[in-house]
């Protein structure tokens, strides 16, 4: 088949002495190395100081220790379930199925900020409510909200710096207040946000706390109109301030146990309130509140009628990624949204593969409530 048997030798590289062949081999080597190098660069191996998902979660572990099986932040929590009764008002701004009039089943989680799953409840810990709305014939929507009116940092780098500043000093076992002071001094947006947080006292429990999504999103209507929004779960239970006597109680889980007792008595409700932003309102900075004169739309009532300890298959095994959004709700340009999605995902991946210890908050078998 070949013209000349002696020419069937291109596969033998005995011609290596030939400079042209050597040069071509060098070109091949360089091109292949360049591709591998680009891959390594994109993967972060050539820039060990880059703030990656892994680095962020590693820092959480440095600050709080590793507690296998638990979330790296908001580690202490309890599962809840119930439904949202949508009144249809949200459909004006968003085409998402959850805003059509009717009932949407939800599961969720009440938790305290912080990476220690067995920490004692206390007045200083930020409380959170995470929800997954699961309309029977629509897309899922997940949101994770906290009970302070603005967030304390505006981007991932500041979040990480603030986390480092809160790292316990090996000598005292406690965070060094000077470091946090220094951080706040370098971040005027955090100083302003702290003032706003301090002006809003904590309530006495989970049930009478209101929870805010803080980050801005965009609602997209059926006609394609896009509106900047923020949303909150406004407590229906009347506000009562936290009293010093509460945290002095012997019960390390006094906040959670009160929530279990409250839901055991009767369902607890919140109103889902959407704040409609205007084009002048910042959507990329969760430390800045929008003017209080903005339109608020009450789009439905959340009813929580069930509470149970974390267990296989319930809220324990759900990642309340704030970017699990139905069509009709879109992320804004807030850099924290993608950052949260990324770090929650790394935290979820790590804990999903770890052996689980029982959670601190437990309920009698079968949970409480309907």
């Amino acid at each position: 088949m070949v013209n000349d048997p002696s020419s069937a030798t291109p596969y033998r590289l005995r011609a290596l002495a030939d400079k042209r062949i050597l040069a071509r081999l060098a070109v091949i080597g360089a091109v292949v190395l360049a591709v591998v190098g680009c891959f390594a660069y994109v993967g972060g191996w050539l820039s060990p100081n880059r703030l990656t998902q892994a680095r962020m979660i590693d820092t959480f572990q440095e600050v709080n220790g590793v507690h296998p099986g638990f979330r790296r932040n908001h580690a202490k929590g309890v599962c809840i379930a119930g439904y949202l009764e949508s009144n249809g008002q949200g459909a004006r701004l968003s085409k998402a199925a959850v805003f059509r009039p009717g009932r949407v089943p939800i599961i969720g989680r009440l938790s305290l900020a912080g990476g220690e799953p067995y920490m004692a409840d206390g007045p200083a810990a930020v409380r959170s409510m995470a929800l997954a709305f699961r309309p029977p014939d629509g897309e899922e929507w997940r949101t994770a909200m906290i009970d302070i009116p603005v967030f304390l940092v505006k981007d991932p780098e500041s979040f990480w710096e603030q986390l480092l500043a809160s790292r316990p000093d090996p000598a005292t076992g406690k965070p060094d207040p000077a470091k946090m002071k220094d951080f706040v001094a370098r971040h005027p947006e955090t100083a302003r946000a702290l003032e706003i947080v301090k002006a809003n006292p904590f309530s006495s429990g989970f049930a009478n706390s209101s929870y805010n999504a803080l980050d801005a999103f965009r609602f997209v209507s059926a006609s394609g109109a896009s509106t900047p929004v923020r949303w909150s779960m406004a407590a229906v239970d009347p506000f009562e301030p936290e009293t010093p006597g509460q945290s002095a109680a012997q019960d390390k889980n006094y906040l959670f146990d009160a929530a279990i007792a409250r839901i055991g008595q009767a369902p607890v409700q919140w109103r889902l309130v959407v704040t409609v932003g205007q084009s002048s309102d910042p959507t990329d900075d969760a430390t800045i509140p929008w003017p209080s004169t903005r339109e608020h739309i009450d789009v439905g009532t959340l009813t929580i009628n069930h509470i149970e300890g974390e267990a296989p298959g319930n809220c324990r095994d759900v990642n309340f990624d704030p970017l699990v959004l139905p069509s009709g709700i879109e992320p804004s340009d807030d850099p924290l949204l993608s950052t949260r999605s990324a770090t929650y995902s790394t935290s979820f991946t790590r804990r999903a593969g770890e052996t689980k210890e029982p959670s601190a908050v437990q309920t009698p078998a079968g949970g409480k409530g309907a």
Binding site: P10, E140, A352
Partner: protein, 188 residues
Amino acid sequence: MAQQLQFAAFSRILHWTMAIMVLAMLFIGIGMVASLTDYHWLVSIHKPLGVLILIFVAVRLVNRLFNPAPPLPQGMPPWQRFAAHASHVVLYALLFALPLVGWGMLSAARYPVVLYGPLELPPILPHDAALYAVLRTVHTVLAFLLFATFIVHFSAALMHALIYRDGVFQSMASWKKRSGRFAVAKQG
């Protein structure tokens, strides 16, 4: 009788489209797991692109039945023939496995598998966090294996193009109509 020297035009189009998609996918994948602010937009390309690759590789496998690959040149050493065939089998296997493992792991984590807007894929596995953890690791291992196999494939293609010059590279890369016999370059 003239030997078939070239892949069919449709096969070449499939190959080069997939080459771009798979290379983009590998870089998006490795980049997104290290990213914070870029994570979301990268993931929202990663998922639909993965499904597109799964569809393309299925079409390609069927296409092979109708448009078989041209024979390798005479005189190619047996180990190279084996390496060529084995790497192609591995590439096909990985291009099927990676999207399926990705889809499965998202199902096991109970993440909705959103493709675009309201377009979602149904879960293919039950909600099971431990299963998710295993599949998530498998996804990473297979992705590195795919990158390594791609590097071998790419290096071999360049060897054929620049060193062996035996027409194997042109059988996929040339857009000119080629017939006759495999050209065997003279060396040294």
